[in-house]
Amino acid sequence: MSWLLTIFAPIIGGLLYGIERKLKARMQSRKGPPIIQPFYDLFKLTDKRPMILHSYHAFMGVMHFVAAWVALSVLFFGGDLLVAIFFHLLSTSLLIVAGYSAKSTYSRIGSTRELIAISALEPVLILTAIAFYLHTGSFEVSKIINSDSTFGASFIGFLALLVVLPGLLKKSPFDAAEAHQEIVGGAEIEFSGIFYEAVYTAKWLDMLFVFTLVFLFGGSNFVLGAVLAVLAFFAVLLVDNSTARVRYSDMVRIVYSVAFTLAAANIILGVMA
């Protein structure tokens, strides 16, 4: 099962992304692209003449994709949640390094914003992992999915994760890092052809990673986990469609004052209990 999930992760992620685009379009009363549009994009991108700035940049972009896949497989193979989160950080940081290496203003501003976003989002993820530990007695995903659901016990921790989801998925209102209208995609801008495909696919994997985290709140109750993941998916889309982008500094402020506070309160409650 772990093997299958890991190997087909890009395909599952692509479908998820396709569904998301479709739903988003329906919410805006558009017809929207077919669900397998991401794969059409894939074929088109691989067919294009590849253009790169320099090898360092292109190579790091590909490594970003590989790292995202590894982070996901740590989760799927039931590994340590903290390790998975660190791999997720590693994957993002490789994209950031790639973005910085380009002599492009947009790319560098994007990298900086991405980095600042991490500094707000990462602590919440860590505290989420610790909340899992407090209620299941382990950081290991294989143990968490065999324990009782942590959803009830750490409900405010769940809310905290919900608040940072748009940031993790780079969706409005927390999408300053790749704000297309101002910095034309941020760290991703200088990738093209097959190399952009790598970065693009990494995005699907990230999506899968994030919703797997949500799914874990269900514990051994897979139905609850799935329901939570689907609800979170809808919630993120709805928020994405109905809010405007906030400045990156405001994002940090909001995440720390709302999500971090909630996650921290959750830990304190967990420790006191």
């Binding site: 090898s55 790091m60 490594m63 949640l81 390094v97 900086t112 860590i126 407090l134 971090f260």
Partner: protein, 612 residues
């Protein structure tokens, strides 16, 4: 084992004297001594069976004379520079020193070389010696004056001997003497460049560290008057109502040496010294006295109010120093702040004193030492060879000096992410801290979580400047400079791959000695298993390939058959550039952190004295 210990204790002083006399051969002598020290430290670890004890009461009188001479010299400095703090603190120390003579002490062992000492030998002598070898090359660019070169190398070499003695001293009066000698080395070397700024900073370092000296002497006074003993190991096992006061005083000396807020200015000011000094004294070895001392007293303070307060001081410095570093553009300043920050984490983990956090602290001691030594050596090369001090001027360096840049990037990655040692320390810190409950733990977790990302932000924004690549090609590296950092880089990479067996044997072994209980982890080539989590070999391998190998390959690789494009500039034809990101926390943040820490320092003494 005696012969190796003798080498470690005496060779540095002999080599320093020789270097001082045969000025022209100073470099050669230093390199030979370094080789012997590295070998002796490794052999002392291998041949270690049980702790080595030595009683040397005949040295009491000569050491007292040395103490007085040292304090007299400090008082003279204070008098000459009209610095009242230095003068006053030296006189106080002298007074306490004489008061100490009124109390008799039981007989015991002045030198106790235990597992922790041997562990510290490895750090001090291997990393220290590599820095010495680097210093031989560096000092030629620093000053053309042969005798100044020799003096510089002699002080650095002798310093290693002092450190070896310090981590072996069980007699608190000896500890005090060596502590003050490191302060002296610090004072001389910070002032080495002999200009206004370095003199002023040297004086700051002197008076701040002397407060640590006072604390140690008062601790000795408590020890002699209440425990009738000057031997730390005996006092710690003895217990009693004055034990907490003793621990509080020792920890204050440690925290000052470790430049924790509000005593961080001395270490930041120390950056005016030549770079090998920053590398050896102010990042990888001397400041490690702080976690070393806390580790030594950790069995006594674990779970007490004093321990909790020390952990809080570490937590505040960890977070605030990392945040303050975000406003700096000077490469050395960034390294200095990050050192203070990580020392905070070491102190935090050591003071909690659970098996896992002690292991985390020891991992940090070694790996932070290696990474920082390497980074500081690279900073020295940047300064001397490329005349770069600010991270804003490093753009395109990756083309000019791919090896140097790769080493710098590796250095930063190795203190941020898996599979390098510092990551494991953080991982263990999380898993070790959650091991016991309480509100304090929750607060420490918040500090660790936020402080860690602040450091990540700092490291990656700096790395971002170093990888900035304009596509131009040119090669100009000075290989004679690169020897030592390159060796440390190789060490980091090989340790990254074999980190789990290393943790499972060497670190676990040393940590279980300090904690005096078994460490509940197991590690072999195939991974590490903790009580609440595990890391498999394929995780380590994947991280190693992605972070250890990929950046180096990326710097070397040239993709063929792919067209090159110009970056998108929105159709504008203007030269635009994006610089690094700076964040200046409100002035009040630094002030509040300083005041809070100062209050915590006072609380440590009060709580210790009241024995709560």
């Amino acid at each position: 084992m005696q012969e190796y210990l003798l080498t470690l204790f005496l060779l540095p002083f002999i080599a320093a004297t020789a270097a001082f006399i045969f000025k022209r051969q100073a470099g050669f002598i230093t390199v030979i001594a370094s080789a012997f020290l590295i070998a002796a430290s490794i052999l002392s670890y291998i041949s270690y069976e049980s702790s080595f004890r030595l009683s040397a009461s005949y040295l009491a009188a000569p050491f007292l004379v040395l103490d007085i001479a040292l304090l007299g010299y400090f008082a003279y400095i204070g008098f000459k520079s009209q610095n009242k703090k230095i003068l006053f603190l030296s006189l106080i120390q002298m007074a306490i020193l004489f008061a100490l003579e009124n109390f008799a002490s039981k007989e015991g062992f002045d030198i106790v070389v235990d597992k922790l000492s041997v562990f510290m030998f490895l750090l001090v002598n291997i990393v220290g010696s590599l820095i010495l070898i680097y210093a031989v090359r560096y000092i030629k660019d620093e000053t053309p004056n042969i005798s100044r070169q020799a003096v510089f190398l002699a002080i650095l070499t002798a310093f290693l001997g002092v450190m070896n003695l310090l981590v072996s001293a069980d007699n608190i009066k000896w500890l005090f003497l060596f502590f003050e000698m490191t302060t002296l080395a610090s004072f001389w070397l910070i002032g080495f460049r002999d200009n206004e700024e370095s003199k002023e900073n040297a004086h700051t370092a002197l008076w701040m560290n002397q407060i640590g000296g006072v604390a140690l002497l008062v601790a000795a006074l408590v020890a002699k008057s209440q425990f009738h003993s000057v031997y730390i190991s005996e006092i710690l096992t003895h217990g009693g109502e004055y034990l907490m006061l003793f621990c509080a005083l020792v920890s204050i000396a440690a925290l000052i040496k470790g430049a924790q807020m509000p005593f961080s200015p001395w270490l930041l000011g120390a950056m005016v010294a030549p770079t090998p000094v920053s590398a050896i004294l102010h990042s990888s070895t001397m400041v490690k006295i702080a976690p070393y001392l806390i580790l030594k007293i950790s069995p006594a303070i674990a779970g007490t109010a004093v321990g909790a307060l020390i952990a809080l001081i570490g937590a505040v410095s960890f977070l605030v120093s990392a945040a303050l570093a975000l406003r700096e553009d000077s490469f050395k300043k960034i390294l200095a702040y990050s050192t203070i920050s990580l020392l905070g984490l070491m102190i935090l983990t050591a003071s909690l004193g659970t098996p896992l956090t002690i292991l985390a602290c020891m991992l940090l001691i070694i790996f932070h030492g290696v990474s920082k030594a390497m980074l500081f050596m690279c900073a020295g090369i940047l300064e001397k060879k490329y005349h770069i001090k600010s991270i804003e001027s490093v753009e395109g360096l990756i083309n000019k000096a791919p090896i140097l840049t790769s080493l710098i990037v590796l250095g930063f990655l190795s203190i941020a992410l898996p599979p390098f040692g510092v990551f494991f320390a953080k991982w263990l810190a999380y898993e070790g801290v959650v091991g016991f409950s309480g509100l304090l733990v929750a607060f420490l977790l918040f500090f660790i979580a936020v402080g860690s990302v602040a450091l990540t932000l700092l490291y990656f924004k700096t790395v971002g400047r170093f990888v900035a690549n304009d596509g131009a090609k040119s090669d100009s590296e000075d290989y004679s400079y690169l020897i030592s950092p390159f060796v440390l880089g190789l060490f980091l990479l090989s340790f990254a791959l074999f980190v789990s067996p290393a943790i499972g044997s060497f670190f676990k072994d040393s940590a279980s000695f300090v904690a005096s209980v078994a460490i509940p982890i197991s590690g072999d080539f195939w991974g590490i298993v903790l009580p609440f989590g595990e890391l498999k070999f394929w995780h380590i391998l994947a991280a190693f390939l992605l972070l250890g190998v990929a950046p180096i390959v990326a710097a070397k690789i040239k993709l063929k058959g792919v067209d090159r494009a110009k970056p998108y500039s929105c159709g504008e034809n203007i030269e635009a550039n994006a610089y690094s990101f700076y964040f200046d926390p409100a002035k009040s943040v630094e002030k509040i952190a300083n005041i809070t820490s100062a209050a915590l320092f006072a609380l440590i003494i009060i709580v210790g004295a009241l024995n709560i």
